[in-house]
C-alpha cells in the first residue's frame, strides 16, 4: 500500500440476499494515477464503485472499508463527497443526462448545488468546462438538449459536468463502450489529457483491454467478485501471471494477428453464391415534421459472396452497413438497384415464392435476448424455421433436428425447455445461431452478432462461425470492430454514409489501406501495447462525429472529416477505382496519398 494513496479500499464486499456480488476486494488508487479495473460482465466491477459512492439499491449489503483522503466512504460517507470530490461518468450518457434540461443548465446545476455560486456565474463556468472538453461552438451547445447531441458529444458533456467541482477522483464506468471506435479514440485521448492537466486520480471500469492499455497506470483484474490479479499496466498486458488474465488477453481480437480464423488465401474455391446485390439503395422514411423526409441509408452499394467465405461490412454507426445486410433478406426496403437470389429479384417475390430465399439466407442479430421471443422455449424458437419452411416434417423428426442444431452450437438437450431470459447473453446468441443454421442456409448474415458479448464468449461464437464457414456457408459479417473482422473475414467492404469507399481482401484493405477513412478507422482501433496505444491516441487525426445521412456533404461524403480533402472533393462523387486485383478504393486522391 503506497503512502500517498488517495483512496484505499479494504475487504469491500457487496451482496444481495445470500448472493455475493463483490467478495473481499481490496485496492488503492494513488494520487495522480489511473487505476484500470477490468473484468467481464458479472465480475462485480461496477458494483464495487457504486458501493463506494452509496449508489447501490437499498437491499444491497455492503461491508469492508474504503478511506478517501481520511474520510470513510462506506455507510453514507460517500454521499457527501460524490459530485464534489469524487465524480462519476457512466456508460450511457443519454440515460445519465436529464432529458428536459439544457446542457448548460445541467452542468451549472452541479455548481449551484455544491459550490453555492449564482446561476450566472455557474453558466459562465459551464461554458469554460465545455471548452475544456473540446466541445466546439460552446454557446450553441449550452442551449441544446441532450437528445440533440451525438453520443460522443453527450459523453463530453458528462465529463464536463463531472469536472465541474474539480474532483480529486474521476470514476469512469465503461466510458466509451457505447461509442464508435473513432469517437472512442477521441474520448480516450481527451480523458488522458484532462487527467494529466489536472493531476487528478482516475478509476476506469471496463471490459475492454484496449481502454486499459490506453488509460490505466495500474490494473486490477476482477472475476466473479474477486480480484484475481493486480499490477502495473505493462506487466499485466505483457506478462500476465493469472490464467484468467491470460485467457482474457488471448480472447481479445487484435489487428496484428493476421486472420487467425480466416482462410490463408483469398477467395476459397467454393464458387459464388447465387446472391448478387447491385447498386442497392435503401431509404428510410422519417416520420414527424411538416413534410415527410427520407434518409438514404445505403446509396448504391454492391456485394457478392462466395461459398465458405466471410465478407466483413465495416464502418461507423449510421453508415448503412446494417441496412444493406437487412436488405439482403428483404427486412429493409430496397429503393433502387437489385438484390438477386437464385436469379430472382427478391423485391418482386410474393409470399409463396419467398421460401428459397428464407431457407437460403438467414440472419443473426446484435442483441441476443431481444432476438428470442420471450414467450417461447428454446426448442420452439429453434424449430420455428422448420415449421415455416418444411411443414412436411413430422414432430419427431423436427425435434431430433432441433436437438442436433442445439448440439452444433454447444448446447445440450437440457436447454431445450428453457426460455431466453434464463440464459446468458452468449447462450442466447448460440440459440439464435442454431435457429439460423437449422435450415442449412447457404448464406448467414451476422448483424453485429458478437458486439454485445464478452470477449471470451465472443471468441467462442467466432469459432462457431468459423466452423460454419468451413462447411461452406457464406457469411456477411457486419461489425464496427475491425479487429474481429480481421480475424474472421477474407474480404472486407468499408462503408461511409451509405457508400462503399474501399473493398478488397482483408489483407489488402486492412493491411495496406488506401482510403483515408479506412486508415483512420484502423488508427482508432485500440492497441493492447500501452506505449503504442498512447502514442496513437496523441496523434489521432479523425475529428468529429460521422455526419448524418440527412445532411450529406456534396461530392465525397467523407471530405468534411478527411485530413487530405481538397476543393475538388466537393465537386465529384468518387467512384470505385481498382488499385490492384480485387482491391478497390473510392477516393479522388488515392494515387497522390503516401502509401
Amino acid at each position: 500500500m503506497s503512502a500517498d494513496a488517495l483512496l484505499t479500499v479494504e475487504n469491500l464486499g457487496v451482496g444481495y440476499g445470500d448472493q455475493p456480488a463483490v467478495r473481499a476486494v481490496s485496492f488503492d488508487i494513488a494520487r495522480g494515477r489511473c487505476l484500470g479495473v477490468i473484468g467481464e460482465s458479472g465480475a462485480g466491477k461496477s458494483q464495487a464503485f457504486l458501493a463506494l459512492l452509496g449508489l447501490l439499491p437499498a437491499q444491497a449489503r455492503v461491508s469492508g472499508s474504503a478511506r478517501f483522503d481520511g474520510h470513510e466512504l462506506l455507510g453514507g460517507g460517500g454521499r457527501s463527497l460524490r459530485g464534489r470530490r469524487i465524480a462519476m461518468i457512466f456508460q450511457d450518457p443519454m440515460t445519465a443526462l436529464t432529458p428536459h434540461l439544457r446542457v448548460g443548465d445541467q452542468i451549472a446545476e452541479t455548481l449551484v448545488a455544491h459550490r453555492g455560486v449564482t446561476w450566472t456565474a455557474a453558466r459562465t463556468r459551464a461554458a469554460e468546462l465545455l471548452a475544456q472538453v473540446r466541445v466546439g461552438d460552446v454557446e450553441r451547445r449550452l442551449r441544446q438538449y441532450p437528445h440533440e447531441l451525438s453520443g460522443g458529444m453527450r459523453q463530453r458533456v458528462m465529463i464536463a459536468g463531472a469536472l465541474a467541482c474539480d474532483p480529486d477522483l474521476l470514476i469512469a464506468d465503461e466510458p466509451t463502450t457505447a461509442l464508435d471506435v473513432s469517437v472512442q479514440a477521441q474520448l480516450l485521448a481527451l480523458l488522458r489529457q484532462i487527467v494529466a492537466e489536472r493531476q487528478m486520480s482516475m478509476a476506469v471500469v471496463t471490459h475492454d483491454m484496449g481502454v486499459i492499455a490506453a488509460l490505466a497506470d495500474d490494473v486490477v483484474v476482477m472475476r466473479e467478485g474477486c480480484v484475481v490479479e493486480r499490477g502495473c499496466v505493462d506487466t499485466i498486458l505483457s506478462t500476465p501471471r493469472h490464467e484468467y488474465t491470460r485467457a482474457l488477453l488471448a480472447a481479445t481480437p487484435r489487428l496484428g494477428t493476421v486472420g487467425s480464423l480466416a482462410a490463408a488465401s483469398a477467395p476459397p474455391a467454393g464458387g459464388e453464391l447465387p446472391l448478387a446485390a447491385r447498386e442497392v439503395v435503401v431509404k428510410h422514411r422519417l416520420r414527424g415534421g411538416w413534410r415527410p423526409m427520407s434518409l438514404t441509408a445505403v446509396d448504391g452499394a454492391s456485394l457478392d459472396v462466395c461459398a465458405g467465405e466471410a465478407v466483413g461490412l465495416v464502418g461507423e454507426s449510421g453508415c448503412g452497413k446494417s441496412s444493406l445486410a437487412r436488405a439482403l433478406l428483404r427486412l429493409a426496403p430496397v429503393d433502387g438497384g437489385r438484390i438477386v437470389w437464385l436469379g430472382r429479384d427478391v423485391q418482386t417475390l410474393d409470399a409463396g415464392e419467398l421460401r428459397p430465399l428464407r431457407s437460403g439466407v438467414q440472419i443473426v442479430f446484435q442483441d441476443p435476448l431481444a432476438s428470442l421471443d420471450p414467450a417461447m422455449t428454446v426448442a420452439a424458437i429453434v424449430a420455428e424455421p422448420l415449421r415455416a419452411l418444411r411443414p412436411d416434417l413430422e414432430a419427431g423428426a423436427r425435434r431430433s433436428l432441433v436437438l442436433r442444431a442445439l448440439e452444433d452450437v454447444g448446447l445440450d438437450a437440457g436447454y431445450a425447455a428453457r426460455r431466453g431470459r434464463e440464459l446468458s447473453g452468449g447462450q442466447c446468441q448460440r440459440v439464435a445461431l442454431a435457429r439460423a443454421m437449422i435450415v442449412e442456409p447457404k448464406l448467414l448474415v451476422c448483424d453485429e452478432a458478437v458486439s454485445a458479448l464478452d470477449v471470451s464468449i465472443q471468441a467462442q461464437v467466432l469459432e462457431l462461425l468459423q466452423g460454419f464457414k468451413r462447411r461452406g456457408t457464406g457469411i456477411v459479417f457486419v461489425s464496427h470492430n475491425l479487429a474481429v473482422v480481421r480475424q474472421l473475414c477474407e474480404r472486407v467492404l468499408v462503408m461511409y454514409l451509405g457508400r462503399i469507399v474501399e473493398s478488397g481482401t482483408a489483407d489488402a484493405v486492412l493491411g495496406t489501406p488506401r482510403h483515408p477513412y479506412t486508415r483512420l478507422l484502423l488508427d482508432a482501433v485500440p492497441r493492447l501495447d500501452p506505449a503504442t496505444a498512447r502514442a496513437r491516441l496523441a496523434s489521432f487525426a479523425l475529428r468529429g462525429d460521422p455526419p448524418s445521412a440527412v445532411e450529406r456533404p456534396t461530392g465525397c461524403a467523407f471530405r468534411s472529416r478527411c485530413p487530405h480533402a481538397v476543393d475538388a472533393c466537393a465537386e465529384r462523387v468518387p467512384s470505385l477505382d481498382t488499385v490492384e486485383n480485387s482491391h478497390q478504393v473510392a477516393c479522388l486522391r488515392w494515387r497522390e496519398l503516401p502509401e
Binding site: 428464407r358 439466407v361 446484435q366 432476438s371 421471443d373 415449421r387
Partner: protein
C-alpha cells in the same frame, strides 16, 4: 398487493359459486311468489334470508339470479371485446402504415359517437331485454380501448429483433401475429380485461337501471337497484342488498385487475 389479489379472488370465487348454487341453497326461485310474506325484512322464518319484495319474491333468489346475469354479461362482453380488440389492435399495429391509420381512425370515430345513444338504438331495434342485444351493444364499445392498448404494445414488439428473426425464418404474417405478438401482449390483455369486466357490469346495471336492460321477471343487479330505489323509504333492504352486492363485486374485480396489471404488465404499463 398479493394479499389483496388473493382476497379479491376468494370473494369473487365465493360469489360465483353461491350464484350458481343458489337454486339448491334456497327453497325459493326468483319467480315464485310467497303470498304469506310480502315485503318482509330479512328473516329466517320462511327462509327469506334477505327479505322479499312487494310481490313476495325472495330477494336472495332474485339477487343470485341477477348476479348470474351480471357475471355472464360482464365476462362474455369482456371476452368479445378481448377477441375483437386483440385481433384489431395487433393487425393494425403489426401492419402499420395506411392499414394502421385506417383501422385506428375507425376506432377514433366510434369512440367519438355518444355510446349511450348507440346502445339505446340497438336496444330498441332488438326485442327489449334480449341478452344477445345487450351483449352486442356493450361489446360494440368495449373493444375500442382494448384495440388501442394492443396496438400500442404491438408497435413496440414490432421493433424487437425476434420479429425480424421470425420474418427471416419464413414465418407467415398471420402466424407471426398468432405465435409471437398475441402471447407477448397476453399479460397486458388479461390485466386490462379483468379491469374491463367491472366497467361492463356497471354499464349493464346502468342500462337496466334505465329500463333498457334485462326485463322482468328476470333481473340484473341494476334493475334490482332500480326497483329498490323506489321502495327505499318503506323497504330499505330492497335497495341495500343488491347495491352492496354490486359494490363488493366491482371492488373485487378492480382489486384483482389492479394486482394482475402490476404483475403481468408491470407498473406504469400502458394499461389505463
Amino acid at each position: 398487493m398479493m394479499r389483496r389479489v388473493r382476497g379479491a379472488s376468494v370473494v369473487l370465487g365465493l360469489l360465483t359459486v353461491t350464484a350458481l348454487a343458489a337454486p339448491w341453497l334456497t327453497p325459493w326461485n326468483h319467480e315464485q311468489l310467497d303470498w304469506a310474506n310480502i315485503a318482509v325484512p330479512p328473516q329466517f322464518e320462511g327462509a327469506h334470508w334477505l327479505g322479499t319484495d312487494r310481490l313476495g319474491r325472495d330477494l336472495f333468489a332474485r339477487c343470485m339470479q341477477a348476479l348470474r346475469v351480471s357475471l355472464l354479461i360482464g365476462v362474455l362482453a369482456a371476452l368479445v371485446s378481448v377477441c375483437i380488440g386483440v385481433a384489431w389492435g395487433a393487425t393494425a399495429g403489426y401492419l402499420g402504415g395506411r392499414v394502421d391509420a385506417f383501422m385506428m381512425r375507425f376506432v377514433d370515430i366510434i369512440y367519438a359517437l355518444p355510446y349511450v345513444f348507440i346502445v339505446i338504438i340497438l336496444a330498441t331495434l332488438f326485442e327489449r331485454g334480449s341478452i344477445a342485444a345487450l351483449l352486442l351493444a356493450i361489446g360494440a364499445v368495449g373493444w375500442l380501448t382494448m384495440a388501442r392498448i394492443v396496438r400500442g404494445q404491438t408497435l413496440s414488439l414490432r421493433r424487437r429483433e425476434f420479429i425480424d428473426a421470425a420474418i427471416a425464418s419464413g414465418v407467415s404474417t398471420p402466424a407471426i401475429l398468432w405465435r409471437h405478438i398475441v402471447p407477448n401482449v397476453a399479460g397486458a390483455v388479461i390485466a386490462y380485461a379483468t379491469l374491463t369486466i367491472p366497467q361492463l357490469i356497471l354499464f349493464e346495471s346502468f342500462l337496466s337501471f334505465l329500463g333498457l336492460g334485462v326485463q322482468e321477471p328476470s333481473a340484473s343487479l341494476g334493475s334490482l337497484i332500480n326497483i329498490g330505489a323506489q321502495e327505499m323509504e318503506t323497504a330499505p333492504w330492497m335497495l341495500l342488498v343488491p347495491a352492496t352486492l354490486l359494490t363488493v363485486l366491482l371492488i373485487s374485480f378492480n382489486l384483482l385487475g389492479d394486482g394482475l396489471r402490476s404483475r403481468l404488465a408491470g407498473d406504469g404499463a400502458a394499461v389505463p
